[in-house]
Symmetry: C2
Subunit: 241 residues, 2 copies
């Protein structure tokens, strides 16, 4: 189905990298004082993952945790018969392995080119145990993820196809605007239609038909790398009620 070559490329990590990190205000590192940041930097290794590469797989020992700095990651659970549910897309600033558990609860692979800071889970957990304010920050991230999961449960349990697609587009736009600092009517969709389908509990044909219908109704324009919103407020209206 997807390329699973697990070829992560280590990057050189020059000193003061963390201090210059554009994402620091967004990710868990914001909880740290400069000297703590330097300590944590000592534990970090920059890694890059090619489009389609597996970062980790469900039920495997959780050797590492990741701080995502660029790219999009799909997180998913597979059923034995091949059905797949994507439980979320991780964006820059997101942390993979918040549970600090000894096994991964889901699979993660790179949707496009991904760059991440990698830490040994054990070393990271030991570090966290000495920094209650970092644990508090991690807990905030977890509860935010829990709240996203609740929203997704509403979408999966009670929303129509068009509402699901609209919620997906608006949700992605909101998350990117939080990262970039501005809201664009252009939404880049690095993931495939199949990924969107497996996220929204629909089939690839329904995603395609629904996007076509939104385009026919002059709500969006489908462009090569994503969509452009023509009527943000009517799109947002679909995500409510």
């Amino acid at each position: 189905m997807q390329i699973t070559a697990n070829l992560a490329h280590s990057l050189t990590l020059p000193g003061k990298q963390c201090a210059n990190c554009a994402l620091r205000r967004l990710n868990i590192c914001a909880a740290l004082y400069p000297e703590e940041l330097a300590q944590l930097e000592f534990l970090a290794h920059g890694f890059s993952f090619k489009r389609g590469a597996t970062m980790f797989a469900q039920d495997n020992p959780a050797e590492f945790v990741y701080n995502l700095t660029a790219g999009v990651v799909r997180l998913y659970i597979l059923l034995p018969d091949g059905r797949r549910q994507i439980i979320g897309f991780a964006l820059p600033g997101d942390f993979l392995g918040l549970a600090l558990a000894d096994h991964y609860g889901f699979c993660a692979d790179a949707v496009d080119s991904v760059i991440a800071c990698r830490y040994s889970r054990q070393a990271f957990a030991d570090f966290v145990d000495t920094k209650p304010h970092l644990l508090r920050r991690i807990h905030e991230f977890s509860t935010h993820e829990l709240s996203l999961a609740h929203d997704q449960m509403v979408i999966l349990g009670r929303r129509s196809a068009i509402e699901r697609v609209a919620s997906f587009l608006i949700g992605l736009r909101d998350r990117w605007s939080h990262i970039d600092g501005y809201s664009s009517v252009h939404i880049t969709l690095p993931m495939s239609r199949q990924d969107i389908a497996d996220f929204l509990g629909l089939t690839i044909e329904t995603i395609s038909r629904t996007l076509s219908r939104l385009a026919r109704d002059k709500q969006i324009v489908i462009v090569p790398d994503g969509v452009r919103l023509l009527n943000v407020s009517s799109m947002e209206a679909l995500t409510k009620v």
Copy 2:
């Protein structure tokens, strides 16, 4: 739809209540040393909620957090047009308000007679800030809930009606067995068919038909207060694959 009389009854709380609490090994209090438990007990008030009573509502200021000691609570999100998604059922030992956020992210009301220890959120959060091991425990509870939410997303996104009902029954059985210490083929269902439907993303008629079908196929017997499993392993098989 449901009774929403918010009449919580305060219980007298004799000394050493926490020390004698049967649920302590299960709930967040297990993280505390005896003297810390005594400190926390000082912040607690026992409350009971009648069947149908609202414990708190979505978007309201989170004045309190709760440690559930008896009964079942339904947690749900409402859409403006009345559609409801139950995001989970809380059982004894569960903690409501793990996020420690200033507003509730969902509604909670008593499915049957509920008893809970109530804390001022502010006082509880202040207490947690002085006890990193308690925060760690709370974080474990949160990530466990996140994992339950992920499982539910798979159910809502990718499973058939019969698989959803089987997963619900087996999941409830597993959770109760963890609380009671033994596994019974008898599963008490204090919640209504409508509640089950709103949890599984189906309609009440589909729940009723699916249970009838399982009974006709000699998989279960429908009894007044729940169901009795006749073939646990074939039921469990439905929750996999």
